[in-house]
């Protein structure tokens, strides 16, 4: 079971001129096993939505609710949300100097499962996950994201997705900055995750390109802090052909 329900979510960030509303009432339900794509122009609030679900301290929730299988997500701390089954693959993964990837992964896995993974199988699992994402085993000894290329950071996020095995994954522009080979590798990783029982995916993207490899069940157009239109995957084809113009003029009008 894993059902993520976002209802009328309002979010602000603090600016020099006081709080600024970024999310203006987002409503979205991701049922068990569904993949939803969110597409929208730069600055429309896609990352804000992702971070708000994960609980980044920069964002203030001013209204609405988010629940995972009925449990109030917004009252949980960041780590509690992760342990409840949420995962965020970040648009800009953070460098953590001096902390090795293998130490990081083991610590995270232990936290999520509530017990340390079995050493022998764990090392094998980690190596397999890295290899499937075309990351050399030597990444295990490198500091988390430090000196990784843009593409390596994204592939590292998906390796974590597969190893930590959450219920619902929010992928924030995992496709941006990837060449076509890396895009395929990353998509295969996401598809392996989707093939597992009951997993939900919220796939945030700017381009339709990745949707050729990861087929969404639903597509939502995100404009000016809310969902402007929802549909099936044909909506993505429409966006491919005509872009966001029609929504932007509507939003600005």
């Amino acid at each position: 079971m894993s059902k993520l329900v976002i209802t009328d979510l309002h979010v602000t960030v603090d600016t020099e001129d006081g709080p600024k509303e970024i999310l203006k009432g987002v409503t979205l339900t991701i049922n068990e096993g569904e993949t939803h794509a969110i597409m929208g122009p730069n600055g429309s609030g896609k990352s804000t939505l992702a971070y708000s679900i994960a609980g980044h301290p920069k964002y203030t929730i001013t209204g609405g609710s988010v629940t995972l299988d009925g449990q109030d997500v917004l009252s949980l701390s960041v780590d509690e949300r992760a342990r409840a089954g949420l995962f965020l693959a970040m648009q800009y993964p953070v460098e953590v100097p001096g902390v090795s990837v293998s130490n990081f992964l083991r610590t995270a896995k232990t936290a999520i499962d509530g017990e340390a993974p079995k050493l022998r199988t764990w090392v094998k699992d980690v190596n397999a996950a890295l290899e499937q994402l075309n990351l050399d085993p030597s990444f295990g000894t490198r500091s988390v994201n430090e000196g990784f290329s843009g593409g390596e950071k994204k592939r590292h996020e998906i390796a974590q997705l597969e190893l930590l095995d959450p219920q619902v994954a929010v992928l924030d522009e995992t496709d941006s900055g990837l060449d076509i080979d890396a895009l395929k590798v990353v998509s295969e990783g996401v598809n392996r995750f989707r093939a597992r029982e009951g997993k939900g995916v919220l796939l945030i993207t700017h381009y339709t390109r990745i949707l050729r490899y990861i087929e969404p069940d639903f597509v939502h157009v995100f404009v000016d802090g809310k969902v402007a239109e929802s549909g099936g995957k044909e909506l993505a084809d429409e966006l491919e052909a005509s872009g966001y113009d029609k929504y932007l003029t509507k939003a600005n009008a």
Binding site: A54, G55, H56, D79, V94, V99, F104, A108, L164
Partner: protein, 398 residues
């Protein structure tokens, strides 16, 4: 040893040839105690140090108290022992330096004995030489003179490990002869009431390599000046520092890389963490590139991680350049709190805030701990960082 006496003489003869540089880095040196006034705290080099807590070590406290016990090991080929009389006197200023403070002048003039670690030419010590200095009484003041002598093409690691309670003024002179590879690790793991005022002065020979690691965790007040001069071209010095100040502690590290010869290198990395009310750290990184010092490279860096409110880190890099002909010179200094984004990233993977902070602090120190390059010490440092963290930061989160 003849090598040393000769090179001392040549160093002393050589010294006047260096132009005198008018700089606060260079109060005139003198072996005469009366040439050094008792500091008032207004002097540039004393302005951060709480003199009141020094138990008179900067002024006229007796230096003949018995408040430490020293024990050591000596691997094959290395001699370690206490020398007195003429032999000890001959070692005063063996690093080619004349005292620039009252306490260093007093130590050289008044302390009768010298602890001498002698690594003869061509000897490679099979294991670190560890000198354990254990304090027995912080109400008693004492002085200590230590000489670490690394012969030509020798290779050794010397660890000075300070524990217990004491109030000590110490001068450590290090002579790294041509082509030698010397590591000196000084660990200040004192009890809470200890006071330690020390000056480490090293002279690095031609093509020699010197690594100095200052590691300060314990004590009420710890101040160390770690200085380097060069005896010939091609010498290289790596000055490392790791400190962790808790509530009320004053930990002060000053370095001075005096590039007195061409094509020499200095690379300094000091990292500190602070936690608790009135934890205070000071880092002053002085580098002087003299006219003769063409083609040198220097880089110095100090980073402080502030873990709680109420602590204060001073960080002052100071680079003085008298020649334009250098390969590279740079510095960096930063004092920061936990990075919210790092903590968020770790927490978003299920790791608790407490554990995330622990990971970040370990990560902050990790590369430095690896640079110390002595495996037994690395393990101990990791454990000490852990213990320090357990003291304060983590406790507050429960």
């Amino acid at each position: 040893m003849t090598v040393t006496t000769d090179s001392v003489r040549s160093a002393l003869e050589q010294a006047p040839a260096l132009d005198r540089v008018e700089s606060h880095l260079h109060p005139a040196g003198s072996f005469e105690v009366s040439d050094h006034e008792v500091p008032t705290g207004r002097e540039e080099i004393w302005r951060f140090t709480p003199l009141k807590r020094l138990k008179g070590l900067h002024a006229d406290a007796p230096l003949d108290g018995r408040n430490t016990k020293a024990t050591w090991n000596a691997p094959e080929g290395v001699s370690v022992g206490v020398v007195t009389g003429d032999e000890a006197r001959a070692l005063r200023g063996v690093s080619g330096w004349a005292p620039n403070t009252r306490f260093t002048a007093r130590v050289l003039a008044e302390v009768p004995a010298t602890l001498l670690v002698d690594v003869p030419a061509d000897v490679e010590a099979s294991e670190p030489i560890v000198v354990e200095v254990d304090g027995t009484d912080a109400d008693v003041t004492s002085g200590a003179h230590v000489v670490l002598r690394f012969g030509t093409h020798s290779k050794a690691v010397v660890v000075l490990n300070h524990t217990g309670s004491a109030a000590v003024a110490a001068v450590v002179e290090v002579v790294v002869a041509d082509g030698a590879e010397a590591s000196v690790v000084s660990i200040q793991d004192w009890a809470d009431d200890a006071v330690h005022l020390s000056h480490h002065q090293a002279r690095v020979g031609r093509d020699a390599t010197y690594k100095h690691a200052a590691i300060s965790f314990g004590g009420d007040l710890v101040r160390m000046d770690a200085n380097v001069t060069y005896d010939g071209p091609g010498g290289s010095a790596e000055l490392l520092g790791l400190y962790f100040a808790d509530a009320g502690q004053h930990i002060e590290h000053r370095i001075f890389a005096d590039h007195t010869a061409p094509r020499t290198k200095s690379h300094a990395v000091y990292k500190g963490a602070l936690q608790g009310e009135k934890a205070h750290t000071v880092w002053v990184g002085n580098v002087l590139i003299r006219k003769v010092a063409e083609g040198i490279e220097t880089y110095e860096e100090n980073r402080n991680l502030v873990l709680t409110d109420g602590c204060h880190a001073d960080s002052i890099p100071n680079l003085e350049i008298e020649t334009g002909e250098i390969v590279g010179a740079g510095h960096a200094s930063a004092t920061a709190r936990f990075d919210d984004n790092q903590l968020f990233y770790l927490q978003s993977r299920g790791v608790s805030e407490k554990e995330a902070q622990r990971l970040v602090v370990h990560g902050f120190f990790n590369d430095l701990i690896r640079k110390v390059g002595v495996p037994s010490i690395e393990e101990r440092l990791l454990a000490t960082v852990e213990a320090e963290l357990a003291k304060n930061v983590l406790k507050e989160l429960f």
